[in-house]
């Protein structure tokens, strides 16, 4: 490219790389919860976005409380908000599983419809409670602006925060799945539900916890995304299409697949956006994904599961 110094080009390269990585983190954080629910229970949670929205609203409420009631808390409220967002959505997820999902097992199309309906109901509840307008979460000062390692490189601090949270949540899920008793039960249930039942695993309880955990992760995602995007009744729907894309492309029931797929989609999107335009990037990404799925309908990393 003419007219630019190599220093400037390096700076753009670094910042563009960071932008791709932060998109990857957004996708992964969003898809994580959906993937473990879909992977284990075969339930497609169409209300996933609305759990995210709840997390975002909880963050907003904590920030309002912090700025208006306890100003000294303003700089430190965010970690508390993340924890509360997780707790709130976890509890809601637990109740939803108990009252709704449990009754619709082995009817995947019905869960699809039921969770979609739930999503609409939640959206309208948010609208009636918090008003139809978007709200603005007041960021603590240390989260505003950018970190500048050199004169011309600016790394967004909120991007770093989202990355940190994504890394933490992914690690947590990996540890839970592969290093805990619950993880053993989950994997057993995923591989063969009937046998797991016969071996004395309470699969119903495993399901309930998995569903609640998936929703809890969505809540954390919601809290994290308040720093980079909007908070309104329909915020969740902004992310949901990309999220489904990531999960389906990665291959259900595969954590590694979700990670790889999120990375692939995010990077190609981000690079294409840089050289083409936003809309064209989306078109090409979607076409590529559709093309690959035609040859690999199970997704990139299909795990061998007996059903």
């Amino acid at each position: 490219m003419g007219g630019y110094t190599s220093q400037e080009l390096t700076a753009i390269f670094v910042m563009q790389g960071f932008s791709g990585l932060s998109l990857f983190c957004v996708f992964l954080l969003m898809a994580l919860g959906l993937a473990i629910i879909f992977g284990q229970m075969g339930v497609i949670n169409m209300a996933h976005g609305e759990f995210l929205t709840l997390g975002a609203y909880i963050t907003w409420m904590v920030s309002e409380l912090a700025t208006q009631t306890w100003p000294w808390m303003q700089d430190f409220y965010f970690p508390l908000a993340v924890v509360l967002a997780f707790a709130g959505t976890f509890i809601l997820g637990y109740l939803v599983e108990m009252l709704l999902i449990r009754r619709l097992y082995s009817r995947p199309l019905d869960t699809l419809l039921a969770t979609w309906g739930l999503g609409l109901i939640l959206q309208q509840i948010y609208r009636s409670t918090f008003g139809p307008r978007e709200v603005s979460v007041t960021m603590p000062d240390w989260l505003m602006g950018s970190w500048a390692p050199t004169d011309i490189i600016d790394i967004p601090l909120n991007g770093l925060l989202v990355m940190g949270i994504t890394a933490m949540m992914t690690l947590l899920v990996v540890i839970l799945l592969y290093r805990s008793r619950w993880g053993i039960k989950v994997r057993a249930t995923t591989q063969n539900r009937a046998m797991a039942n016969a071996a004395g695993i309470n699969t119903q309880r495993v399901d309930r916890f998995t569903f609640a955990l998936g929703c809890g992760i969505a809540g954390v995602a919601g809290a994290a995304f308040t720093t980079i995007a909007s908070t309104g009744p329909t915020t969740g729907s902004l992310y949901i299409v990309d999220t489904f894309l990531v999960v389906v492309f990665g291959g259900a029931a595969s954590l590694l697949g979700t990670v790889v797929s999120a990375f692939g989609i995010a990077q190609s999107q981000s690079i294409l956006e840089f050289f083409l335009s936003g809309s064209m990037a989306k078109v090409i990404t979607l076409l590529t994904v559709v093309g690959i799925l035609m040859f690999r309908p199970q997704g990139l990393f299909a795990s061998k599961v007996r059903r």
């Binding site: 932060s22 603005s136 840089f274």
Partner: protein, 409 residues
């Protein structure tokens, strides 16, 4: 607000004064048959009108303010005696952010309820959906949003600005003020930003002698602008000209701020941010950037102060008033003036009487209806402050509406 024990608020006194001074009071009241020859919902004491906006669904975020403004205007008109001595009754329908629903509800309001006028719609898509209904059933629509132009109908009064009014004066100002030569156009990917940018590009290249170094569209709902921000960094345009809307809008401004692109490093002018949007974006993220609109809540004139006070008294102290909300407020007043000028509620009479209607009481200042059914209005540039209000830094002369600009299509 109808509490008679309190002393009359300022706007009531002013409106009462207006009614008396213009002699539009209660004299010469005609019977229902005389003022209504086409079977509209008009009795000797009442007249029914429709409000058709989305109060559910994704558009509720934008349309709520319009509903509030229209109701306020109607209540104020009723308080000063109504229209041709008749109290206005509202039939409200919900378009539910769904264009076919808009058309269906419009048909219901016209065919079943026979309303004398409808105040409603927000997006161009919803207006396009109801337009054939209003034209076939001969109804009257007051449409509040600034929009892309290229439309004109006997059955619609456009109370917001069409694209040339909003774009050209704003570009002229920023080119002069910032000595800008290079422009980067960004928008959401649908008709309004694309048409607006077509007009902007033409004006920049042909009239201002500048260059457009980039023009880009992102899908509605896009939440990641990292790549775009890097491209802007690389191209270093004098001005970024933005028409990104909806949830994307919040992400766009937050990420600009986070990327270290603040107003002292980059001039950005937008035609899609009003006080309503700033509520969600956060004033601290918009500080120093410019919006080109015809109205800002902070306008310092007598009409506007009275309007803002009345609005807050009616809808709460936290309310904010954006450009479209003010334009929606004009709808009932313009209709009232047209009906009184025509001496009839008949749609044909009202449509014919609408041209040249003047409103000196508008919060935005003086407006006048053009014979193309758009409004003469001023363009203002506001610079956003941390508290979410804009400081008006430029005000144009009255601009003639020109929905079909020659050579710009």
């Amino acid at each position: 607000m109808q509490d008679s024990t309190r002393s009359k608020p300022a706007w009531k006194r002013r409106l009462l004064g207006l009614a008396l001074s213009t002699g539009l009071g209660f004299t010469g009241m005609a019977g229902a048959a005389e003022v209504n020859t086409t079977g509209l919902a008009v009795t000797d004491d009442t007249v029914q009108v429709g409000i058709l906006h989305s109060v559910t669904g994704t558009m509720a975020i934008s349309e709520t303010g319009s509903v509030e403004a229209e109701k306020l205007a109607i209540e104020q008109i009723n308080a000063m005696g109504g229209v041709l001595g008749r109290q206005i009754e509202i039939i409200q329908e919900d378009g539910a952010s769904d264009w076919p629903t808009f058309a269906e509800k419009a048909r219901k309001l016209l065919v079943q309820d026979h309303v004398a006028a409808v105040f409603g719609c927000w997006t161009s898509a919803s207006r396009k959906a109801v337009l054939p209904v209003f034209e076939n059933q001969n109804g009257m629509l007051y449409y509040p949003t600034f929009y892309e132009g290229l439309e004109q109908s006997k059955n619609v009064i456009y109370t917001g600005q069409e694209a040339t009014q909003q774009i050209i004066a704003g570009l002229d100002w920023i080119a002069k003020e910032k000595d800008a030569k290079t422009f980067y156009l960004v928008g959401s990917d649908y008709i309004w930003p694309r048409t607006s940018n077509k007009i902007a590009r033409k004006h920049i290249e042909d009239v201002l002698g500048g260059t457009v170094v980039g023009e880009e569209y992102y899908p509605l709902g896009n939440t990641n602008f990292g790549s775009l921000i890097n491209k802007i960094r690389l191209k270093k345009p004098d001005v970024v000209y933005s028409s990104i809307v909806g949830g994307s809008n919040v992400a766009w401004w937050k990420q600009l701020k986070a990327a270290g692109i603040t107003a002292d490093r980059q001039t950005i002018m937008t035609i899609s941010v009003t006080e309503d949007e700033v509520l969600g974006i956060g004033g601290e993220n918009m500080e120093g950037f410019y919006s080109a609109m015809k109205y800002f809540q902070s306008l310092d004139n007598e009409n506007n102060v009275a309007f803002v006070n009345a609005f807050k008294e009616r809808w709460g102290d936290d309310s904010v008033i954006g450009d479209v909300t003010q334009a929606a407020y004009l709808g009932p007043w313009l209709w009232k003036a047209a009906v009184e000028k025509a001496g009839s509620f008949d749609i044909d009479a009202v449509a014919a009487a609408s041209a040249d209607i003047e409103l000196t009481t508008a919060p935005e200042g003086y407006v006048k209806v053009h014979e193309n059914h758009h409004l003469w209005s001023k363009l203002r540039v506001g610079q956003w402050q941390a508290d979410g209000q804009a400081k008006v830094v430029y005000e144009s002369e009255l601009i003639e509406p020109n929905p079909f600009p020659e050579g710009y299509q």
